[in-house]
Amino acid sequence: MTTFDPYAPSRETTEGTVFSVTGGDWDALVQEIGSTKEERVVVNMGPQHPSTHGVLRLILELEGETVTEVRCGVGYLHTGIEKNMEYRNWTQGTTFVTRMDYLGPIFNETAYCLAIEKLLGITNDVPERASVIRVMMMELNRISSHMVALGTGALELGAITPMFFAFREREIVLDLFEMISGLRMNMAYIRPGGVQQDLPEGAIPKIREAVKLMRKNFKDNTTLLVGNSIWLKRTQGIGYLDLAGATTLGITGPVLRSTGLPWDLRKVQPYCGYENYNFDVITADTCDVYGRFLIRMNELEQSLRIIEQALDKLEVLEGAPVMVADKKIAWPAQLALGSDGLGNSLNHIREIMGTSMESLIHHFKLVTEGFHVPAGQVYQAVESPRGELGAHVVSDGGTRPYRMHFREPSFNNLQATSAMSEGGMIADIIGAVASIDPVMGGVDR
């Protein structure tokens, strides 16, 4: 120990001398470490790090470049969504859940609304057109979510071009979301009993065109990455997690399917009428980052297939209702998206203000109080792009949830980071975490 270094102060602990490095000149530190026998380095990576997929903090213990221990620190994005929902009515809840996993808002909303519908006992009363729109929106959302997973995953491993292609495709989907719901993200479009509003005029041809364009565009990333020798070296055999490991850790989604198990809730426990669509469950048997990458790439085409079938169904169901018939649950006015981006229904305003006081009272009560949901609890799971997204909803019979809990696939799957990365190289942690595709908004809620 020569002079005090403000960037690398040292202190004595029971485990020996500990150096804390926060920047500055490494030479002084290396000189000092040279005098000790151990080379154990604990590196704090994140939460503000461009490669950790959001505000994820990784605490790494290294021996040279080999990772001996990884621990995750989460909670930087905790916003108390579950607690807040206990103070808002059931319909208002959709605006909260949509902000959890912000890359898969439609999935959050669907899981939440399906759970409420199960509690209300109206699962079979949801109009078919609403279910078909939900399926279509979910598959569009799956594409945009997988695009971020692929694009940011590639970017974090040093490949920049795939990110541009991926975000170009995501933009197409977000434009469709804007056309349909008025919002590109956090739409709160799926509502208990159906969807917020019907598709706007001319939507179906536009979506068909977008599907055609995306199918063509997807090839760009395929040709860039599939079989690319640098990409293979960074992803093959990296982040290994086999079926036994995935099962005991409760891992679902593409990570589980990369172990060869075709477990997809859309197939095995269908909801929203997924049993009526033809699509394949994509698997890989490599248990590694490359397998998960291939699964996501191939799931894009399956999503396009489902969207096309949904569009066919929507053409047949033109003009059918998109909300349950029960006026005690359905929002009173069928709003239409105006040119100013705001929804308003002049006919409805004319009715409640001019002709029917009962309608006005009903509107007021339903919008301010909301509807009652019979007491009980349910667990409803949907297959989100990251795995099983489960909504555990408890009602005490009131107009607001008694307790809401989301089993978030990102939260659960992040636990696999240690199993995937320990014993490997430090650079491969990035690939492993990217292949889990955690969204911190969902992890921390």
Binding site: H78, K118, T247, L249, H372, A375, D396, G397, T399
Partner: protein
Amino acid sequence: MTDSGMFGASGTGDTSGYGGLVRAPAATGSSQRPYGGYFDDIADDLERAYPEFSLAIERVIVDRGELTLHVKREKLVEVAMILRDTLKFEMCMGVSGVHYPENTDRELVAVYPLLSMTNNRRIRLEVSVADSDAHIPSLVEVWAGNNWHERETFDMFGIIFDGHPGLTRILMPDDWAGHPQRKDYALGGIPVEYKGATTPPPNERRSYK
């Protein structure tokens, strides 16, 4: 308490919303056989595989097409092991806490959704404990993936999972006081003024039943 009418204006006739919030605890009592569907098979298999079934399972509830087994906390790990190994519930989808302050000596509830991929079945386990003795044995030994979920439930409800390898807070800061998702923990918030009108924080707004 029974409800009548849409907006719950029973008893006082107060429809203003200022009558205060009435929270009724969840229904009690066990469901009667047959439970329907595969639920009878699960109950039969569990009874066969686990001789102490009637001691360990306090209640069996079938509601809205879902089966819930209320397990005594002393027997939780044993039941979980048998459900995993014999009945092939390979996955536990975490744990969710619920706080019922009115249920004396059963204030805190831990809810475990289980999934069997082999048989494509779901059930739910529930364990109730008193607030004054909020200890539940950890299931991390049975399903390693419960690690973070139990930390979250500890963080939010203060349920202590005995035998957990490292029961620390996970979402709230380490030095946080209290457990935010308990019913006796106020939501908090400040009034917001916008164009001359003031909106009170959500927990002070009028509440309808």
